[in-house]
Symmetry: C2
Subunit: 481 residues, 2 copies
Amino acid sequence: MAKAAGITAKKSKQFSKWYTQLVLRSELADYAPVKGCMIFREYSYAIWEKIQKYFDERIKETGHKNAYFPLFIPERFLKKEAKHFKGFVPECAWVTIGGESELKERLAVRPTSETVIYTMFKKWIRSWRDLPLKLNQWCNIVRWETKATKLFLRTREFLWQEGHTAHATFEEADKEVMDILNIYRDLMENLLAIPVLVGKKSELEKFAGASYIAALEALMPDGKALQMGTSHNLGQNFSKAFKIQFVGEDEKKHYVWTTSWGITTRLIGAIVMVHGDDKGLVLPPEIAPYQVVIVPIFYKEVERDVILNKAREVSKRLNQNGITTIIDDRTEYTPGWKFNQWELKGVPIRIEIGPRDIERKQVVAARRDTFERAEVKEEQLVSTISEMLTAVQNNLFNRAKKFLDDNITPVKSYSEFKKTLRKKRGFIKASWCSSKECEEKVKEETGATISLIPSEKEKPFSDCFYCGSKAKEIALFAKSY
Amino acid sequence: MAKAAGITAKKSKQFSKWYTQLVLRSELADYAPVKGCMIFREYSYAIWEKIQKYFDERIKETGHKNAYFPLFIPERFLKKEAKHFKGFVPECAWVTIGGESELKERLAVRPTSETVIYTMFKKWIRSWRDLPLKLNQWCNIVRWETKATKLFLRTREFLWQEGHTAHATFEEADKEVMDILNIYRDLMENLLAIPVLVGKKSELEKFAGASYIAALEALMPDGKALQMGTSHNLGQNFSKAFKIQFVGEDEKKHYVWTTSWGITTRLIGAIVMVHGDDKGLVLPPEIAPYQVVIVPIFYKEVERDVILNKAREVSKRLNQNGITTIIDDRTEYTPGWKFNQWELKGVPIRIEIGPRDIERKQVVAARRDTFERAEVKEEQLVSTISEMLTAVQNNLFNRAKKFLDDNITPVKSYSEFKKTLRKKRGFIKASWCSSKECEEKVKEETGATISLIPSEKEKPFSDCFYCGSKAKEIALFAKSY
């Protein structure tokens, strides 16, 4: 429990400072003794467990299975698909000593597991009977970031899931990529209450090993885009590099088609940024470790038992209806201190029970998102609290959706583009000639990149905003985390 | 799916070879490309998930929370509680290069997390209000083994949970250690169907940082003991080394009392060894990824639909009653091939449905443990299969319990001791003078160590079996994994 240390930075004015204060003081996370690393404290880990549970159930329903592959990857493996891994090698942590002796070949601490998983796929896949092979793993990942640490968003170790699948045809792999993308979108929009834009990465932004990358992007309150998840169609690039072949029903050998996809603990950072306010976290009920905090309020010792019993009864009734609660019955803190504390922790609904409420057979319920308070008759307790939770969830999503919609700005010229980037940020929607040259120039000159080529196809509404030649498609540009 | 490769080694004759064949061919695990590491394939990972779910629910009910601490531990941390960690340092994997530069201080890849967790405890714990602090983490662990790799039992990376708690009093810490021990025992006996002996480690066998270590030991079919889990009362040893103090209700400063406890993926190896037979795995129903496999049998194409529909109906009815099933409806394999395959994978019950069964409104059910087959009328399907599953679970436990009981041999003299160790193995129960000297000599001369000082106190039944002086307690000796 934080010792009543509140948030002093304002979200609207010192966004980055506000974010760090909030993460630390709400006790989501802490810095680790090792530079660049972090600790996922119980409060953020409980959120991660909810994300895991949702996603895990969805992928198991569709025939995926979890497995666990080793942490260490020999250097030579990372050289097999050199195009792909040249980006990873400068960011690896290397084990060079094992026990008391120098290793002959240094080992990378898993920056991603394609190489070791594909090595095994080659061994395990023999015929069409072994396909599709759809595996996932939940694990830790290490990338030796040199930029400043940002809790959840940029740390040397983080947690993720990585799915890796092999299929007999391109079409099946393609469907897999899109199925996963849809699960990701459901997770982000329905659980995290964060609206996302969906599309494909441009050639410049995708790594060379992929046929295409589908991605989900969200907009943070400071106007920067955050990549929330990606799903890769890897074509036959990896199966050719790793020689993963199967004998088809036609009795001929074919290379498999592979996909990979991942989401990370950065999603927790997105929740903090998108929904938090100057008083602390605001957690969407679907992802909150506790959906309701119950604060008993009594002034005299004689009231204590009655009120505590009522609190337990209320808690039990809510629990029986699938609503998670915590009773804050600590005697060493005042109700006012507790209100602040649980606002800092972002619990969606606070229930207060005082002597007057006992008399009136009611409780008082306060929403974290709007601070509205309402008296709730005991007989309507479960239905009203359920409705309030739904209302909080929807309000958070709608608020974020409005912000996103208001911050997709169409531009027709480069001067408009630069002005928008300077004054408003957000996503900038522009007609583009699809040439790498224009994209590179824009990146060089402004720092903005193409977040997505949107999946929902729209016709270009001008010539290329940069070079003025004929536009081929619409692209969404932004500055990114 | 293994391509019909069965087990050729005999459990009774080539135990170690049999074990490795079984683990590989049942597709529980595979060797990793990095020496000494392994892959937890989906079939063993599903078992691990069941272990996790059971234990996780039990510890959460009792107020524990999960968190995640960093993988990397600075070398100087491991020197803080030197007595404890001198055992770990020679077994660490060391990261010496991060990104493109040499690190100033090398980092150990987590051999255990006491040091980093206690560093944070020192920061987080201020007053009695912060206690007890009861955290757990599920993670990967690295120890640079130099002895030959044995899948699940001795690998350079494995998975585990490590619980770490801090309390205001010794009594509370003591209760915690015992509460966890009881959960472990329930897990091992009720889920894994492996009977365990419970007790404390001798001074020689416990590491120096602990006040005492409670442990659970099981007996493997080759007569060697396997340590299944440990729960440590660490007293104030670590809180003093890491200066973890709290202000008590008495407004004075006190050192906290800490505990730690863990179980690892070696439990999966124990399941294989204890229950497996010459045809393959035999999985206790409580831990089996699939409890029932349904094999449709048809000779003519016209029978196919009717039988497949029946298989699906049977599966659905079982699922609705909490029994997990898999239908093996592959057309490319014969029923006989499938029977062998699912016996290899140890599925507790096989249901066969053929044309005659449809006629008679029945199915045929076969037990994996005894190979008994029975006709089951459709109307009794759920109750009979449930009973059979319970019977399999109980039989596996009872069989293992009988083996354990039959292999605890009391001895009164050192010559009896050595003879038993040579001819019978198992646990050897002896009256002991409690001196380290005798214990060390026995270890040196025979390789046997004290597995446990049993919790259930019995009086010595002779003088010390080794030195002949007055015995103080009973000890259980064994050769160990």
